[in-house]
Each structure stands twice: as C-alpha cells, then as structure tokens.
C-alpha cells in the first residue's frame, strides 16, 4: 500500500500516516502477545519508519502518539460503561462484550509496552 502511495504522489509530495504498530525491541513471545491483543489487522512487517523509507520516501517527521492512544482507549471503555445498559438492550450482549474485550486487550498491550501508535511524515523522493 505504501508503494501505491508513492506511485500516486507527485515528487516532493507528502505522505502523512498514523498507525498502530508493534513496539520495537520485543521478544518473539512478546510480539506474539502483541499480535494476539492488538487490532485484527495489525501490521507485522516491521517498524513503520522502515516500511515508509523502503517505499520511496524520506522520513521527515516522526511522532509518538501512544499516550493519546492509551487515553482514547480509556475514554472508549468509559463511554461503554456509561451507556452499557442501553447498549445491551439495543445492540445485544455479544456486541458489547466483544467491544469491551477488544478494547481491554488493546489497553493491556499498550500498558505493557507492546503496542504503540505512531504518526509519520514522508517526503516522496
């Protein structure tokens, strides 16, 4: 997908990408746990910075958004708590339970340092 981004960009154009990724420096077991707890389509190809650089971009800005992501996960779980009764009635128990489980898993992975959210700007070279 990043190569497609480069193809459709003019030279000097900018790629602005934000994504959840596996933290660097983890053991194989930790990576496995990050994949298990992370989003369904979590990328496993390597650090975003490297993938972007390998796709024809010069990385000019990198920003760590992990703390914002942790707060967003807490907000989402809080909103789930506040609306739980009505949500269970309207959306069903399975929907609510699945949502809670997924977000709790992701929060665990973030708190254990296995997932991070990264923003990056690449210049089409």
């Amino acid at each position: 997908m990043l190569r497609e981004c480069r193809r459709v960009l003019k030279k000097g154009g900018r790629l602005v990408v934000v994504t959840i990724e596996i933290a660097e420096g983890l053991s194989a077991a930790q990576r496995g746990r990050a994949i298990q707890l992370g989003p369904e389509d979590l990328g496993t190809g390597g650090p975003l910075r490297d993938l972007v650089a390998q796709s024809g971009f010069e990385v000019v800005i990198e920003r760590d958004l992990t703390e914002d992501f942790r707060v967003s996960l807490l907000d989402r779980l809080d909103a789930l708590d506040q609306n739980e009764t009505a949500l269970r009635r309207a959306e069903g128990h399975e929907m609510v339970d699945t949502e809670r489980e997924k977000r709790t898993d992701m929060l665990t992975a973030v708190q254990e340092g296995m997932l991070r959210r990264t923003a990056l700007v690449g210049l089409a070279s």
Binding site: M1, V16, I20, R63, A86, E91
Partner: protein
C-alpha cells in the same frame, strides 16, 4: 480458503464494522467518544496536526486512503482548502459519510470505492496522501 474467498470475507468484515452501533444507544456511545467508532483512533488534535504537516493548499489534491466515513481527510481538506479524494473498500462506510462530506466540502470532495493496495488512479496525481490506522 482461496484468495477470492479470503478477499470477500475481509470486505464483509470491514462492512460489518460500519454496521455496529447504529442504534440510538449506539449513537450516544459514539458521540461520547467523538463519533469515531468503529475503528478510528485519530483525535481532532491529531487531524489538525496532520493538516499542518501535509504542506498543501487550495491548489492541491489530497488522497485519503482507507477513509471510511471520511475522517480525518475531511478535516485536513477543510483546514487547508485542498480538494479531497476519499477512498475505501466498504460501500457502507462511504454511504454513511457521503452527506457529511458533501456538507463540509461540497464539490471539493470525491468518494471512490477502491482498495488502497491497487488504486484506480494514475501516477503522480496527488500533492499529499493521508492514511490513519490503515496499516494496522
């Protein structure tokens, strides 16, 4: 499972994400967290930052890949004045976002049903490309 079957299952799973929390209670839940459900994590502050670093203006064309209902591309286009092409696979997401995108950007936005891995677009067409949580 062969490639085509896998692709169909994946598309159905993406469509399903946009069919959750559409009830009144679901809307209240989504509103409580900025309306970003089901799979977006980009806050307004982050989208504003994306606009500030995209280095585009009203003469430019911005591509938002995996745009869903149109976030965060809509804010970046609004802030910068750029024209926006908003691309994603689930038709349900495009349908849900259409009215809001038109309201915010009028004729400056085009929604395209397409896969970011094989874009139906010519080379060197855009001044900037944004994507949020597509690679995860």
């Amino acid at each position: 499972m062969n490639d085509l079957a896998h692709q169909r299952t994946t598309i159905r799973s993406y469509e399903d994400r946009y069919l959750r929390f559409l009830t009144k209670a679901g809307f209240a839940f989504r509103s409580g967290i900025g309306g970003v459900i089901p799979n977006g994590w980009t806050t307004i502050e982050q989208a504003e930052w994306m606009a500030s670093v995209a280095a585009i203006s009203e003469d430019d064309l911005l591509l938002d890949i995996g745009a869903g209902r149109g976030w965060p591309g809509s804010l970046i286009a609004k802030e910068t004045g750029a024209r926006l092409v908003s691309v994603d696979v689930p038709l349900e997401a495009l349908r849900q976002g259409a009215e809001d995108l038109c309201k915010k950007l009028g004729p400056r936005v085009l929604q395209v049903c397409g896969d970011g891995r094989i874009l139906p677009i010519g080379d060197a067409h855009f001044s900037a490309v944004c994507q949020a949580d597509v690679l995860c």
